[in-house]
Every structure is written in C-alpha cells, then in structure tokens.
C-alpha cells in the first residue's frame, strides 16, 4: 500500500546504516535530488549505492558522496567531466567501486525484481569484467553468469504518481526508475505531481503501484 508523504524527510525516514540504496537517474535526468538531499539530512551512512553514474557536480548523488555516507558504488560509468567528488574519493581509497556494464546493471536489477536467480548474459564475455565469473556456451554462443542486484531501498524520480502508487515518467528521465522500483524492498518516489486515482490512463501506467511504497511531491519543476 502506498503512502503519500508530506515531505521528503518523511519519505526517507527509516533508511538504515549499511543499506543498499538504488538511485535512479541517468546523469541528472530522473535523479531524485530532493530524496537524496533528505537522505543526507537523515544521516544514514555506510551505504552501498547502485546508480548509473557516481555523481555530477556538487548536487544529488555527488553531495551524498561528499558527505561521506557511501562505502561502495556499483555503477556503469563513474568517470565524467564533472565527477570530481567521486574521482577524489576513489583515488584516495575512500570508496569502493564495482563497474558493471550498463545493460547488465539494468538486467541484474530486473532479475532481482522478477525472482530470477541468475542469468546467462552475452555482455562482457572475454573482457576483464567477466574475470572470475562462470561462463557457458549455449547454442553456440558464449555467456557469462550474472547475479541479481537487490536494493533495500530505491530512490527514484517520476513525473506523476497517483494515490495507488502508479507512476508515469517523462521522456528519457524514465531510464532506471521502473527497474529499480521492482528491485528494492522499499521504493520511494519523488514526483512532480501527485494525482488522484483514476487520473492516470491505466494503459499508460509504467510502474504499477504494487512496487511503490512512498510518494512525495517535490514541487512543480516545470510549467
């Protein structure tokens, strides 16, 4: 059952030290900045963060890293022109990194959400990222065995959410949100609009409300 939180602080209450937190967004598109800011205030530490990137500039995920709350990042692309917060932590040995091909990152979370125990994936065969992993030839093609990535919590951004917890997104800000929502024990969404049940077209709902535990409206980001 989905609850509508009044504030981002209320939405992130209870996230525990040591939690694995899935954080949506591709760069800044879809990044739940208000929830991350609230998580910084909330104080949970020793976190493992799963996200496509490892922070841009000084805001959002980068601010969480700068606050020293993250033990490990699992991502596809930490290195960016403005990833200086992560770069510094990494080079000084203050953060662990697991690099995962972007599609494997998505598919491993999808497996967690879908109850799949592991899957044979063709991506990365013969590369350093497959080192030490089980491989198998199936029907003449080589595959690497990949395991699910589960979250204790997912923090995602969406465009609108109804009181049932159903979510719709906007353009490429959709990215990892729908997958992460399925892969975490508790999913928390910041949305631009909270709407009434029935206001979203049942054919166009992207994330069914069953995956969403808490929603908070974070202001009209655009007209």
């Amino acid at each position: 059952m989905t609850t509508i939180a009044d504030t981002a602080a209320e939405a992130v209450a209870g996230i525990a030290d040591g939690a694995t937190v899935l954080i949506g967004g591709f760069g800044m598109a879809g990044m739940p900045v208000a929830l991350i800011d609230a998580l910084i205030d909330q104080g949970a530490t020793d976190l493992t963060v799963v996200s496509n990137n490892a922070g841009n500039g000084d805001t959002g995920l980068a601010a969480l890293l700068a606050a020293g709350r993250v033990r490990k990042v699992i991502c596809s692309f930490p290195r960016q022109s403005d990833s200086y917060v992560f770069d510094d932590l990494y080079r000084s040995g203050r953060i662990d990194l697991e690099v995962v091909p972007q599609g494997n990152l998505a598919e491993r979370m999808r497996a967690a959400g879908a109850g799949i125990g592991a899957f044979f994936c063709p991506t990365g065969v013969g590369t350093p990222l497959a080192d030490g992993k089980e491989t198998r030839t199936i029907d003449g093609r080589d595959y690497v065995l990949e395991l699910p990535i589960r979250g204790d919590v997912a923090l995602i951004g969406a465009h609108a959410g109804d009181r049932m917890g159903n979510l719709v997104y906007r353009k490429t800000a959709r990215n990892f949100g729908p997958v992460m929502a399925t892969a975490a024990a508790t999913t928390i969404a910041q949305v631009t609009h909270v709407v009434e049940a029935g206001d979203l077209d049942p054919e166009a709902v992207v994330t069914p409300g069953i995956y969403v535990d808490r929603i908070v409206q974070v202001g009209q980001e655009r007209a």
Binding site: F26, P78, Q80, T123, T127, P128, D142, Y169, T172, P178
Partner: protein, 228 residues
C-alpha cells in the same frame, strides 16, 4: 555481417588526401541501409547523424530509453528530461517512443538494432574491440554501455583514426588494451581506408589518398583485396 557492401572490388581513391572526420561520418552514413535502426556511440559517431537524411527512414536508438531520437536540442528545445547517451539535450521525432533501461538494453542485447557505430582504441583483425579502458593504472574504470553495444547490434561499425598519436596502428593482430567485446566488429572506417574484419581477417574495401600496397606496408595485419 548482415549489410552488403556497395562495391565488388577494392577501390583506391587516389589524387586526394585522407578523409576528414566529416567525410568519414558521411561514408558510414552512406553504408547504413534505409529504414535501419541505429545506435550512434558517444563522441565522433554522433556526427553520422548529420549525414542521414530524414527520407532515409533511419531510426536512431539511444540506450537511455528512446527510439526516434532527433537532432541536438537548441534554445527553447532544451529539456533536461530528454537527453542522449552522452547526456546532451536532444529532440524527439514524430513516431518516437520511450522505454526503461532494462527494456532498452534488452532491445540491444537481443539483436534488434541493425547497426551500432562506435569509436575504438583498437580493433583486431578478427573484430575484437577495445574501446572502454586504456588499462592505465591510474584510470578510473568506466564502461557505460560500451560492452552492451559491442555485442548487441547485428552490425557493429567502428569509426576511428587508423593510427594513434604515437604512430602505432589501431587495427592490430591482437588488442593490447582491455577488451570490450570479442569478434563483434564487422567494419572499420578510418581516414585512410575502410575495412571488413571478421573470421576471415581483414579485407580492404576502399582506400583514400594511398594505394592498397602502401596501406599494406603500414599495417601489421594481413590484408586481402575485395574481389568479385
């Protein structure tokens, strides 16, 4: 390789210099069949879109969740919720659609894209690709969608300069940089020549500003002429 080539024997374009970057992009675009679904990698490959006419029916995929991507957004078109894989604001064409990351990479991994165009540090004579990591000990590893793209499309085209800044060839017998994918590249477009690579080794399709024999002396890989 599933896309046919448009000549039946090796062509030497002499009386001219090597291709400019823009000419390389045009050459790649020329070889993409009308109606193809195409992913253009970050950086130089994005220039290929400048040479794809709307009438070609080519549909661009961006792995952050869209088919029907349009040109880079300018001015009022800029929308932070609509970017390409390089996080540059782009536009939406008529008939576009959006999907989430797992669906987007399922589309790629499942072999539904016709062509992917990537940059490279090195390509081996059998089509191994190295384009994600220099292997330098101080480099922060970052793979993004490179490995997914490498194994996903029906045809993987590489666009790169044929020689590195130190003069060494980037088309090599065996990649020395960490691999992105094994036996995944089907064509290599460079300023000096266009190559087919794969199980049969390297075939030269066209040369630009030098002869086949001149090209052969500058590379460590066995070359073959294209013959009818």
């Amino acid at each position: 390789m599933t896309i046919e080539i448009n000549v039946d024997r090796t062509v030497e374009h002499l009386g001219r210099g090597p291709l400019s970057r823009d000419e390389m992009a045009a050459t790649v675009a020329r070889d993409i069949p009308d109606g193809s679904f195409v992913n253009l990698g970050i950086g130089q490959p994005t220039q290929v879109s400048n040479h794809l006419s709307p009438s070609s029916g080519v549909v661009l995929h961006t792995e952050n969740g869209m088919l029907g991507m349009g040109p880079v957004a300018e001015g009022d078109q800029i929308d932070p919720d609509l970017t390409n894989a390089g996080k540059i604001p782009v536009t939406e064409l008529v008939g576009a659609c959006y999907f989430h990351h797992a669906d987007s990479f399922a589309m790629m991994r499942g072999g539904h894209l016709d062509v992917c165009v990537l940059g490279a540090f090195q390509v081996s004579e059998h089509g191994d690709l190295a384009n994600w990591h220099t292997g330098a000990p101080d480099a922060i590893p970052a793979v993004g969608g490179a490995m997914d793209l490498a194994i996903g499309a029906k045809d993987v085209f590489v666009m790169m300069s044929l020689f590195a800044k130190d003069g060494s060839a980037k088309l090599v017998p065996t990649c020395t940089y960490p691999l992105t994918g094994l036996a995944c590249v089907s064509r290599v477009y460079t300023e000096h020549a266009t190559f087919l690579v794969g199980p049969d080794g390297v075939t030269v399709v066209e040369t630009f500003g030098l002869t086949y024999d001149e090209l052969a002396t500058r590379l460590d890989v066995p070359l073959r002429r294209l013959e009818p």
